[in-house]
């Protein structure tokens, strides 16, 4: 048995990079060519595995308010973007801007591509969803 130099980081890297076991087949549900930009109020946050979800009351061009659900990566993914649950919690009830790949069923559901929080912080979800 040998002492190998290959052990360090295995654990850390496993946790930090095993970020995005897709909980479902993304391409089957979301159309990556159908991008929707939304501006509105962040109303709800579910910061749990296997992926986060946010609800946004989005104001559309016609002035109507639409409730949208956006799905993101696993919470640990955001650590690599210097973003925490607290950043999103602070944005609850505040304006946000986001871009999503819309669900193929045409509903108000999308896969998060990027989001701009109130303080101007832009969180890019690439390569999860470029």
């Amino acid at each position: 048995m040998t002492l190998r130099l290959s052990l360090l980081f295995v654990l850390g890297i496993t946790l930090l990079t095993a970020t995005a076991s897709a909980h479902h087949n993304m391409s089957a549900i979301f159309d990556f060519n159908d991008r929707v930009t939304l501006s509105g109020t962040l109303t709800k946050l579910d910061w749990r595995n296997p992926h986060i979800e946010i609800l946004v009351d989005a104001k559309r061009d016609n002035g109507q308010i639409e409730g949208w659900k956006a799905e993101g990566p696993t919470p640990i993914f955001f650590r690599s973007r210097d973003t925490t649950k607290a950043d999103f919690e602070k944005a609850l009830g505040k304006p946000v801007k986001l871009e999503v790949s819309r669900a193929r069923d045409g509903s108000h559901w999308g896969l998060l591509r990027n989001i701009t929080l109130l303080d101007g912080k832009v969180v890019n979800l690439c390569p999860e969803n470029c």
Partner: protein, 874 residues
């Protein structure tokens, strides 16, 4: 994240394996300019500079040399090109001696070593005289990290990213440096502070009081690795990335008990290229005045044993080598030009850390660089234009894939052909009218044809729920050949190529399995592919209105340097009349290691019995009564995975299942031992939990089909057989087994911000043990389980505090739980006594034994006296 496998494989092919790196110990100035190299090239790891600033010690990791058993020794160098002196180890490679570190007075060197199953820190005089002194030894491997300037403390690292402070006076009882996962401790020159890597969030550099005290100061701002101090403690250095990082510097000022860190600024590109090698050593050293840095930098010339360096070799149709092209190098994706006079390929430069498209003249061996990538750029799959005047390739920059083209002469600038929507795309071929590319992005398997028009819109020409690999259109553009596992095994297929829309017509060409590459002869009358036994196969083709073909025949055997059954698509090519085949041939690999053996160990880890014959088994699991074992058998290269059960007493085996859809999920037994459960991945990415009779009889029964695309790891079943637990994406689910596959619904019982996984029911079915990363690394917890509702209790008991790699199971009386620490190379089986009544209680975990090659999910027998593992026969 489903970045395509193709990309991962490509990277692995392109980048020389870390263990094989030919590195040159190099002194550089603060601008990164090389001042001096020391010693011959070699696989060096972890330099440490003596207090005199002249000598250094380093580990020479001779894993690239098969005769060294993958181990290395400690060497000491001073200057010049002469080989250094071996300070620790005898060159036999039987024992690994790692991460040498100087004593504060420069008279001794301490290093880590694993001997007789125990991990120790050893010390030796730097002049080589005298013997070794053992400083500390226990069951856990240890790597020295830093020595306090007063000589009183030594910090060392153990698996699980825990760093311990060893007092060298008094009771010499080690204590933890920090609660969270940390590495690379560096005590400041005044001994009052310690810098280290923290992994609580991403890898960052922090400084805190030493040896004890609160108040972490965050030093790095955008990630950091491998801290080192300047001799006066007023500047701290680190790399911005684990590989290819910038050397960063931070001003440090101390006012009383307060430390302040300035803004990090980049000094230079470190030139340190850590090619996928996880590290637990300091990767550079710095002179006391901070003006010179000692870094093991890659050497441009491949070492003789480097398995990733390849020779471009031409073969005739009989498989005879008839010539070589150019120098040996890190080549991949070789593509002969249509006239066979030049070869386009990807060439990795280990010094620059870049990969570029090159064109090499076949006759003269002279190369022309086509692209000039930066280190962070990706480049893939060069293809020739039909007239040979241009090369198209994928450029991956800032996470976006773009198809570019450029003159094959290297002249002029590149042009954007098409900006792709996403990543992980490979170019396949440039036909008269189209550029063909293939995408596996996020679960799709789609072949596109991109019209060569001013504003091209890609046309989907083939879509499959199975990967379509090595896609090649026929010369008349009426068919595409490719590899797919849709029949349950990798085979070569041909489909009709129709830009009007995907066609359903398809033909299976190979009969005994096939792998990449797939080529057409220029006249479209022959098709070539590689068989699983390393044969280049040829198929005669007649395509009129339909598609007719003869049985495949062996054309020749490819060199044994290519592992049988593994696709060498990116490494071989043919063109035109197929009279010549060009292959990027690696060195002949060393003999494969001996096959592992199912082995039963006692509680001290001593082998007491072997079961069956040595084979490529893994994950052995005892049946509930301990009389049988279920185990997975992996194919030699590509092919089907098998599940076997073995009778422990007789060694007789039964084949339970054989399929390439079997997943790496745990296998478990039914409580009565009559059936086994395992996972399969069905078309469309649907993970399914299967139940089948343990003797292999009868059909597979689908118990549960989970959300398409979601992973499933089966973990355990309750003693009454009513509930099964599995995890997916860090969430633990309970599956009531009543009902049918159509009606069963899994319940999420542990779904949090952190990961929960690996549930094991207690023998009374009233508790569940599982792993959870709530403290930023996996630890073992127990919670109550209600067998009536299938739900978990709210409160939980944490049983471990220094990391767990995998959970094993409970003893049959429910009084002891077993888990593992470390990894497959160095796995420690641990035990912790548990009481569940009147309330949950646990004792301090204790070490049982270590064994490389860990067992499966539940590899313990009922009384906790026997463990089954798969280990090398020796």
């Amino acid at each position: 994240m489903k970045i395509s496998c193709a990309t991962a494989i490509l990277v692995a092919v392109l980048l020389p394996a870390a263990h094989a790196q030919n590195l040159q110990m190099t002194w550089v100035d603060r601008a990164g300019k090389a001042i001096e190299t020391v010693g011959p090239g070699g696989p060096y790891r972890g330099p440490d500079l003596a207090p005199d600033g002249k000598r250094f010690v380093v580990h020479r990791h001779d894993e690239m040399n098969p005769e060294k058993n993958g181990n290395g020794d400690v060497w000491i160098f001073e200057s010049g090109a002469e080989p250094g002196k071996r300070l620790a180890g005898d060159g036999s490679g039987k024992i690994e001696n790692v991460m040498p570190m100087w004593s504060p007075d420069g008279t001794r060197v301490v290093y880590g070593s694993m001997r007789n199953g125990k991990g120790g820190l050893y010390m030796k005089r730097a002049d080589g005289t005298g013997g070794e002194e053992l400083l500390i030894e226990s069951e856990t491997m240890k790597v020295p990290m830093s020595w306090s300037p007063d000589g009183k403390y030594l910090v060392y690292w153990v698996p699980g990213n825990i760093q311990w402070i060893l007092p060298l006076t008094g009771d010499r009882k080690p204590f933890q440096l920090s609660d969270g996962p940390t590495t690379h401790a560096q005590i400041s020159p005044d001994g009052k502070w310690v810098a280290y890597n923290s992994f609580v969030s991403r890898a960052e550099i922090y400084v805190k009081p030493f040896p004890t005290g609160k108040g972490e100061v965050h030093v790095s701002k955008d990630g950091g690795f491998f801290p080192r101090w300047r001799g006066d403690g007023k500047e701290l250095y680190y790399l911005s990335a684990m590989s290819s990082g910038q050397m960063m510097a931070v001003d440090i000022s101390v006012n009383g008990s307060t430390l302040q860190a300035g803004a990090p600024h980049a000094l230079f590109d470190s030139g340190y290229l850590n090619l996928n090698h996880p590290t637990n050593y300091h990767v550079f050293a710095v002179a006391r005045d901070g003006q010179r840095f000692l870094i093991p930098r890659p050497d441009a010339t491949p070492g003789p044993d480097d398995p990733n360096a390849r020779t471009l070799t031409l073969f005739d149709r009989q498989g005879n080598a008839v010539g070589t092209v150019g120098d040996r190098g890190y080549y991949s994706n070789v593509q002969l030009s249509p006239d066979q006079t030049r070869v386009a390929l990807l060439r990795a430069d280990p010094v620059k850390g870049t990969t570029d498209v090159w064109v090499i003249d076949v006759a003269k061996g002279k190369g022309t660089q086509i692209t000039s990538n930066k280190r962070e750029d990706g480049t893939r799959t060069p293809v020739w234009s039909p007239d040979g005047k241009q090369i198209a390739y994928i450029g991956s920059r800032s996470g976006v894939d773009t198809i570019y083209k450029k003159a094959s002469s290297g002249e002029g600038s590149e042009e954007v052909v098409y900006r792709l929507n996403g990543a992980g795309i490979t170019l396949q071929e440039w036909t008269a009218n189209y550029l063909m590319y293939y995408s596996q992005q996020l679960g799709g398997n789609i072949e596109f044809a991109l019209p060569l028009t001013a504003d091209p819109k890609p046309v989907e020409v083939a879509r499959s729920q199975f990967p379509m690999l090595a896609v090649r259109p026929s010369p008349d553009h009426r068919f595409i050949a490719f590899r797919s596992n849709e029949s349950g095994r990798d085979q070569i297929w041909v489909r009709r190529f129709d830009t009007a829309g995907p066609s359903a017509d398809k033909w299976q060409i190979s009969t005994d399995g096939g792998t990449g590459p797939v080529f057409w002869r220029a006249d479209g009358k022959e098709l070539y592919y590689l068989s699983l036994d390393r044969s280049m196969m040829v198929v005669s083709v007649r395509s009129g209105t339909g598609f007719e073909f003869d049985a495949p025949k062996v054309l020749f055997k490819v060199p044994e340097a290519f592992p049988a059954g593994q696709g060498i698509g990116p490494l071989t090519t043919t063109s035109g009349n197929a009279e010549r085949f060009l292959m990027a041939v690696p060195r002949t690999p060393p003999p494969p290691p001996a096959l592992p053996q199912i082995t039963i160990l006692d509680r001290q880890g001593k082998p007491v019995k072997t079961v069956g014959e040595p084979e490529r088994f893994n994950e052995p699991v005892f049946s509930p009564d301990g009389s049988r074992i279920v185990v997975r058998k992996m194919p030699a290269t590509v092919g089907d995975i098998e599940i076997w059960t073995f009778d422990v007493a007789t060694g007789k085996g039964n084949l339970v299942a054989k399929s390439n859809q079997i997943t790496g999920s745990n296998m478990i037994w039914s409580p009565d031992g009559k059936q086994v459960f395992y996972g399969v991945n069905r078309p469309g990415g649907v993970n399914v939990i299967i139940r089948k009779m343990a003797d292999g009889s009868g059909p597979e029964e689908e118990l549960y089909r989970y959300t398409p695309g979601a992973p499933v790891t089966i973990n355990d079943i309750t003693p009454d057989g009513k509930f099964l637990t599995f995890d997916s994406g860090g969430v633990i689910l309970i599956l009531p087994l009543a009902g049918t596959v159509a009606t069963r619904q899994a319940i999420e019982v542990a779904r949090d911000e952190y990961f929960s996984f690996g549930g094991r029911f207690s023998p009374d079915g009233r508790s569940i043990a599982y792993l959870c990363t709530e403290t930023d690394r996996p630890e073992l917890y127990v919670r109550a389980f209600d067998p009536a509702s299938g739900k978990l209790g709210e409160s939980k008991l944490q049983l471990t505090k220094d990391g767990v790699s995998s959970i094993v199971s409970w003893r049959a009386d429910g009084r002891e739980l077993y888990y593992r620490k470390g990894d497959m190379n160095d796995s420690l089986t641990m035990a912790v006594a548990v009481a569940t009544t009147p309330r949950l209680q646990a004792s301090t975990p204790r070490f049982l034994f270590r064994a490389a090659g860990a067992g499966g999910a539940k590899n313990i027998n009922r009384d906790g006296q026997r463990f089954v593992v798969v280990v090398p026969k020796d």
